[in-house]
Subunit: 199 residues, 4 copies
DNA sequence: TATGAATGAGTGTTCATTCAT
DNA sequence: GATGAATGAACACTCATTCAT
């Protein structure tokens, strides 16, 4: 459960998903061929079509199978209460690991979502869950800490957006340390912790 | 409007760039064919190759030609001083318009940057400029407003990341009003304005 | 006929090779399209690429597959000893048949070899074999007939060159009978048989 | 007149021919583009079409303009009488230089002649001249040396063929010294000079 | 005479997808 | 369930040739 990286069960279908996830992440959707996947999985191309009716369906299988990570990581870090700043640090570290293993995939998915309603709806569903659970934790975590004026749901959205934005900084090539600082500074200021500067 | 010369004659190259920008934005890089572009521009495919040596080069031409927007919009909104919150609203509105006209392009570019060093470097150059100019304005705008503990450069990065993240919320389908609120709430809290709730 | 196995099942690859050989020979490398070959073979263009990774590779397959002819014909004619002049006649007749079925291919290959090191090396390998086996036969055939002053290897090269040169006379349009006479006269004189004029 | 390399007069047309000759020789007909030629000549592609109605016409211009070399070299070497073997040496050296400057062109032309009647006729015309003048010189040079049984015209053809064949040995990569020996050995034996071995 | 600009007609190559075995 | 073999439909890119200026 604490496992972040989607750990598909070892059925043929899941083996394919896992490997495809890797390749799609590395090469991007359009530059990944069914051949790439098949040969890496060690089966024939035709076999892929036994499990997935098309390349797109296979791709869908991936982001529908593994969208728990943000939620799980958020829960695993902020969920345990305690020092908010430290939790934010942990969150960053774990999300970074997640991101690093599939840097391109997220962008690819968003880009595709721009044109694909079905995908957009799926993502929206995921995000609704993210927002809800984040808001809930925010409530607990920051209880009493956040001004009454603010909306936890709204802040949850901001926080998720902020992380997504951090990924763009990483792609562009800013050093992790710098991006982490930006994340923590933003987090600190957003939650009015700035009176307690990090060492 | 910035164009002073009235005999503003679009060169063929710029016409292509503009139209290609639109199509790439709408359909994505890999689903846009040179034929698509050519026929929209109203020339033959071969003509495209007179001006750009490859599809990739044409694509490059686009994101190298118009990366000023964030900078310009930031300057145009926050640059004029005054009410920070109102500026943040203006910024959002203008960036939204920019985003809406090419929603997918940004993600496509980031995705590609994941695998393409040259592109990454170009983007990094742009971002360095963004960060610098944003930090400068932040200094002026928020003079005295931000705690001594915080780093304007770091906050500038966060702010840019935050906007990028907002775009993901938009793609996913959250209503503009909701995203705008998230942006403003985040902005407000980040800059310690929360004592002055927006009406 | 050399094929012993009756269930001589042409593999797809060999079928392609054979047909491609014909077309390349007739139209030349650059004027032969993959479509030409595919449609003559009766498969789709894509199928060609299952067996050969590129047009060039397919072309290579041809001249690497059938370079035995000169060697074989030489062996089959001069190899049997007996009347040298008659053997020379037989050699000519059989080489002519070979040449006539693919007149352009040889020149095409030589032209290409001018610029292509790999091809040059392959050809050189073939020629080394030709020279060696020709020299060997020359030794047997002309034993005692050729002056001690001459080098069989060198004469072998000359003989091969002479045949190659005869092909140029044929291309240019000299009648076969005339070219054959030139070949025989040269052969006769080279091997000191001129005291025994052909009837 | 002793000049071998075709020295076109410096008219625009001839400048083009000269440069085109070089490029065609180096890259082959099909891999030479009109752009290649135009840019090397320093004019626009369209200008080429003022002087030559097509690429093929331009190519024709080349081999119609400079076919004297074999004839001239033969005349310049064997024409002066004297030691036949030494003349054969000189001939080789000068033809080699000629060949070396345009190794591929000859093969290209022969290959093309296979399919192109007009070209074939032109070449035939050239070869008729070659044969005739060579036969004439052979008569003088070898007067009394060659058995009555042989036909100078036929031997002339053989000699020309032999040289053409030598070019194939060169393409294939045999060292010049080796090819030269083969040439001289063949020559020597063909003309019954073998009683006077070269040192 | 010279050319910048344009293009029609290819051309090799790729790839998701199918299907008989 | 698995696959080897096949392919239709594209697609980026090229190039000889034209023509208005």
């Amino acid at each position: 459960m604490p496992k972040v990286v989607p750990e598909y069960k070892e059925t043929a279908k899941n083996r394919i998903l896992e490997i495809a996830h890797n390749i799609f992440s590395r090469k991007g959707y359009y530059q990944t061929t069914m051949d790439d996947i098949a040969s890496k999985v060690g089966v024939s191309k035709a076999t892929l079509y036994i499990y997935f009716s098309s390349k797109e369906e296979l791709f869908k299988g991936i982001y529908q199978n593994a969208p728990e990570s943000l939620e799980q990581i958020f829960a695993a870090t902020f969920g345990k209460g305690g020092d908010a700043l430290q939790n934010a640090r942990d969150f960053f570290d774990r999300m970074l690991k997640e991101y690093a293993s599939h840097p391109a995939l997220g962008f690819e998915v968003f880009s595709e979502a721009t044109r694909n309603v079905a995908l957009r709806k799926t993502l929206r569903g995921n995000y609704d869950r993210y927002v809800e659970s984040t808001a809930k934790l925010l409530n607990q975590q920051t209880h009493g800490m956040i001004s009454q004026y603010f909306d936890p749901r709204s802040l949850a959205q901001s926080l998720i957006a902020l992380w997504n934005g951090m990924e763009t900084l990483l792609v562009v090539g800013y050093p992790v340390s710098e991006v982490k600082k930006a994340w923590l500074d933003a987090f600190t200021s957003m939650f009015g912790l700035f009176r307690h500067p990090q060492k």
